[in-house]
């Protein structure tokens, strides 16, 4: 590990945080001899490519090994969650309205 690796990792995290399309993501950044390893889960495919582009632009980065994973989204549940609601007049009587 090069002496400059922790500093570079910090700069990469700051740069990722400033990029609004990926700022909210929980990306783990590791730097070894200038090679950057990105790990974690993202919501969409384009965020994987965007993270690589952003990290590559940071001075001192030798290579980006992007190991981010896109979480698969499923279709909607067939069965909805039923929420039982007390009749309004009953609620208002109890609340003294």
């Amino acid at each position: 590990m090069a002496d400059s690796d922790p500093e570079l990792a910090g700069q990469i995290k700051r740069t990722l945080a400033e990029e609004s399309s990926i700022a909210d993501l929980d990306v783990d950044v590791e730097v070894r001899e200038g090679v950057v390893y990105l790990r974690g889960e993202v919501d969409e495919e384009h965020q994987v490519a965007q993270a690589t582009r952003v990290v590559r632009s940071v001075p001192g980065v030798v290579e980006v090994r992007n190991q981010l994973v896109v979480l698969p989204l499923r279709g909607p549940d067939v069965q909805p969650e039923v929420i039982w609601v007390r009749p309004r007049d009953e609620q208002e009587r109890e609340e003294g309205r």
Binding site: D43, I83, W84, V85, P87, R88
Partner: protein, 250 residues
């Protein structure tokens, strides 16, 4: 009975390739309305909102939403709201909407909400002006919801927020950022005036289900939490349940 499809944090970055159209085009088969609880856009750009609105134009149920912090990010919040409204999406910011569905009425109150922490960790208006401004913003957002709820006398009452009103649906996030994910002032007004379901987003690593102190169901519908295109909730009056099963047997 009212069927609600709900999602948040779509974070559209433009050029969606028909993704949202595919996800929501059949929602009318299972829901009476679609709620989008904030963060329509990824970067707060107007073109992102326009692209999303275009993809949702053919959805065959009414769409109601609130803006989120991403929609505010670039200072285009008014224009984004206008573009969404032009696309047929009702953007709520303290507004109250009343609908009649199959003879029953549903009222929807919505607003972005704000941050400030929960319970004992709630930020109070003490110290520097910027702290007081922060708290003022949270109080103003909570007041919008309170005024809306005060006027609602519908069979069902739905509250839509972007920020979380309770800590329970934020659990899973790093505890250090809880105060930035929501504010219990929002839950306080719900508990004061009553509601049947509160929907929010913003906390991507939170959990879906929680409830306020008085037992009002709260659901975090961030897509990253749901891991599906939307959640479905069926609000049913207990009268319906009693009528269907008068002996108490199911």
């Amino acid at each position: 009975m009212i069927r609600v499809a709900a999602v948040a944090d779509l974070h559209c970055h433009g050029e969606c390739g028909g993704r949202y159209q595919r996800w929501y085009r059949d929602v009318h088969e299972v829901a009476d309305l679609l709620v989008i609880a904030g963060d329509f856009t990824g970067s707060g750009m107007v073109r992102e909102a326009a692209d999303l609105a275009a993809e949702l134009r053919d959805v065959r149920v009414p769409i109601f939403g609130v803006l989120g912090n991403h929609d505010w990010h670039a200072g285009n919040e008014r224009e984004i709201a206008r573009v969404l409204e032009d696309g047929g999406i009702t953007v709520l910011d303290g507004h109250v909407v009343k609908l009649e569905i199959r003879g029953q009425t549903v009222g929807i109150v919505g607003g972005k909400g704000f941050a400030g922490g929960f319970g004992h960790g709630l930020l109070t208006p003490f110290g520097e002006p910027v702290i007081k401004s922060w708290v003022d913003e949270a109080i103003a957002e909570a007041t919008k919801i309170e005024e809306g709820l005060r006027s609602l006398r519908t069979d069902y009452r739905l509250v839509v927020l972007h920020y979380a009103p309770i800590a329970e649906t934020v659990h899973g996030e790093h505890p250090e950022i809880y105060p930035f994910l929501g504010c219990s002032r929002l839950a306080d007004v719900v508990d004061r005036h009553g509601a049947d379901l509160v929907l929010h987003g913003h906390a991507h690593k939170g959990r879906e289900k929680g409830q306020t102190a008085t037992g009002v169901p709260v659901r975090n519908v961030a897509m990253q939490v749901l891991q599906r295109y939307y959640a479905l909730y069926e609000l049913r009056s207990l009268k319906e349940g009693i009528a269907a099963h008068p002996t108490g047997r199911s």
